[in-house]
Structures are given as structure tokens and as C-alpha cells.
Symmetry: C2
DNA sequence: GCCGCGACCGAACGATCGTGCTAATCCCCG
DNA sequence: CGGGGATTAGCACGATCGTTCGGTCGCGGC
């Protein structure tokens, strides 16, 4: 890997951590540069606009998310066990990755949902990929017999997503120590409702 | 009402709309002033710092939220009917109030969850009030017999919150037209699980 | 009728922002 | 080991930010 690529990765990793707290728009090229011990223009040269930097950060975050949540869950058995693995990796993945500002995607989603442009498109693309992967996992659980046949994979994925959003909200803003416990409780209820009885 | 008070309200109402899209930090005193046809310093004089403006906007939003969601629901019968009323007013309250950027509190929560200070404190206070009001409504539903005795009001309130968060996420970022339908489906499941069978 | 005060304005400040341009330096390949 | 593209630095620009200050206008009470 060339030197420039190494630097670029270092920039993106740091920018991702920074954006998790200040937001993508709160990223400052100058601050980023001094944090990494380089010049503003030197950093800027790697991307040719701030918008391109945002896009690169989002795509980098998507890769890291996939590696931290989806990849390890693929080692679990197909069906319900894999879904349990996904949830257990999903909840708290931000803390585990050392993101000081909580879930990167939740912050980006709220910030970009009403701002058309390349960053929003990149975010939607990555989130759609994840949504499809989730639905697929649920579909497998249905066809393997873990879940009843009437379970709608996309609805299940939506409900799962809401549970995770609720976890981050309660955990980070309201400082609810029982947030994780509450989220898992909701997940159990969701699973019980979908499972054959 | 004094002239200054009228102006102040106009500022806060406009700032709230603006903050729903650009975020609280994205508020610009200069832009706000020109939008309202007044000078930067004239607007600034009403609050003596941007932080104070943020706090005032949050408190104003809390009042408007209460009036738009809680007050009309109090006319519904105690117990489950009132909870149904709350949910139907809660989902989509931002659109109904003409907030162009979706739920003000969801945006503020993600933005302020890791930024200590007066704005965060004001937000947490308002959200805790709402959480308590929600729990109380559920408690009434339990004691009135609409819900089973084992239902935990705070868990129910948490689950409700997650459903609304999921709705805004799917609706605004992913542009899922079935977001409302999905949220109501999840709500029905939540109610069914809590109701006497 | 004059005084006082609330309400607002205009101009300016230092700081920081993203973004060019040019030159120096480094690293990799032949 | 030497040449050349890749990488980084230095400097400056226009714009915008929150904030300060001094001043003006109008209205209500003694």
C-alpha cells in the first residue's frame, strides 16, 4: 500500500471518530489536519472537496460496520442464531469500535436526511445494503423454520432497526443504564412473536 | 404582550423550523436575522449568546410538542384509548407542525447527546418530562385493566419511543412510504402483547 | 412636555471556514 | 542510484461566524 493510501486511511479513521460527535458538517479540515500533524492543504489534496471527504468517510464507515457486525455474525449458524449474533454485535458496535460519539450512522442519518447531495446518496446506499442483508437473514430464519411462515422479513428488519435506534437514544442522551437490557427485552419479544410456538 | 416578546416568539418559531433541518449548531444568527427582516445585533439582543438561543429554542419546542401531542390526547378516555391517541398524534407531529426537517427532538438528541452544557440539560429535562408522562399514561392503562398487571410502564414507554424513532428514520432517510404503516404495525404488536387476552 | 427605557440598527472586530495556487519534498520504480 | 510522479507544505483569498459597541427611534409615565 502506498504512502498516500496509508495517510488517507488514517484521515478517514480519525474523521469518522470526529464526525460521530461533531457530525459530518462539524468536520473541520483545519482541525483534522492539526490533529493528524499535517497541513490543511496537504490533507485537502487527498480529497478535492469537503463533500468528497464526507462521502469517503461514509463509505469507510460502511466497510468498518460490515466488518464489525456482519462478518463475525456469518460464523453463527443460519437462521435465528445468526440474527441473535447480529443484534449482539449491532448493539454497542460504536462503543466497541471506539467511536466517542455513538452510532455514526444514526448521527449521519439525522443530519443528512434533508440535505440532498452525494453524501446523502452514499449514506442511503449503505443503509439500503444493510437493510437488505438484514431482511435476507430474516428470510433465512423463516425458510429454515426458526420463524413462522407469516413473518414479513422487511417488517422484522424495520422493527429490529427501531430497537437499536431506541437503544442509542436511551443510552446516549438519557444515560439510561438499563438501555441495553431494555433493548434486549424488546428483541426477545420480537423473536418470541415470530417464532413457532 | 410586549413588542419584544412578540418578536422573541417569532424568532424562536422560525429558529425551531430552521434547526429541524440544519441542526441547532447550524443555526446562524445572521441568516436568522435576514430571514426575519431584522439586523443581526437586534436579534442577538434578545438572547445574549448563541447558547442561550439554543436553550430557548429547545424550551419553546417542548411547549409546542406538549400542546400538539399531549394536550389533545388528554381528551381521549384514560387507558388504552389515550395511548392510542398519543401515538397517533406523536407519529408525524413534525410534519403536522410544518417542521421541514422532521422531528426536532430526534435531531437535537443526536446532536447534543455528547455535548455537555445548558442546551443538553434543557433537552434532557424536556425529554424526561415526556418520558414520565408516557409512563404515567401506561400506568393508568395497567391500573384501569386495559393492560395486564405484569406490564412495565417504563419498558412500554421505551418500546414506544423506539417505534417512533424507527418511523422517522425509515420515513425521512430511506423515504419508505410504508413507514407509518410499519410503525403502526409494531405498535399494534406492542399493544397486543400488553393487553389481556 | 420631557425623561427614561426598551427595542433595534450599523459597523466593525477577530477568528475560522473551505478552497486555490505554487513550490518543495518525499517515495517508488526502473 | 537517479529521475519523476505522488505527496505534502506555505500562503493567501473571500466568505461567514458570534460578539461588541455606540447610537437612534418611539412610546409610556411623572
Amino acid at each position: 500500500m502506498r504512502k498516500g493510501e496509508v495517510t488517507r486511511q488514517a484521515i478517514l479513521d480519525h474523521a469518522m471518530r470526529s464526525a460521530s460527535t461533531k457530525g459530518l458538517d462539524g468536520l473541520s479540515i483545519g482541525v483534522l489536519a492539526t490533529d493528524l500533524g499535517m497541513s490543511k492543504s496537504g490533507l485537502f489534496a487527498h480529497f478535492s472537496s469537503k463533500e468528497a471527504l464526507k462521502v469517503a468517510v461514509i463509505e469507510r464507515a460502511a466497510v468498518l460496520f460490515y466488518e464489525a457486525v456482519m462478518l463475525p455474525s456469518l460464523r453463527a449458524e443460519r437462521g435465528l442464531p445468526r440474527i441473535r449474533a447480529i443484534v449482539s454485535h449491532w448493539i454497542g458496535w460504536a462503543e466497541r469500535m471506539g467511536l466517542p460519539g455513538g452510532c455514526f450512522f444514526m448521527a449521519a442519518a439525522v443530519e443528512l436526511d434533508d440535505q440532498p447531495g452525494a453524501p446523502r446518496d452514499a449514506l442511503v446506499r449503505s443503509q439500503a445494503d444493510w437493510r437488505d442483508a438484514l431482511s435476507k437473514a430474516v428470510e433465512i430464519a423463516v425458510s429454515s423454520g426458526d420463524f413462522e411462515a407469516h413473518v414479513d422479513p422487511s417488517q422484522f428488519a424495520h422493527d429490529l432497526w427501531a430497537i437499536v435506534l431506541g437503544y442509542y437514544y436511551a443510552s446516549r442522551l438519557m444515560l439510561d443504564e438499563r438501555a441495553r437490557e431494555r433493548a434486549l427485552h424488546a428483541f426477545d419479544a420480537l423473536v418470541e412473536r415470530a417464532s413457532k410456538s
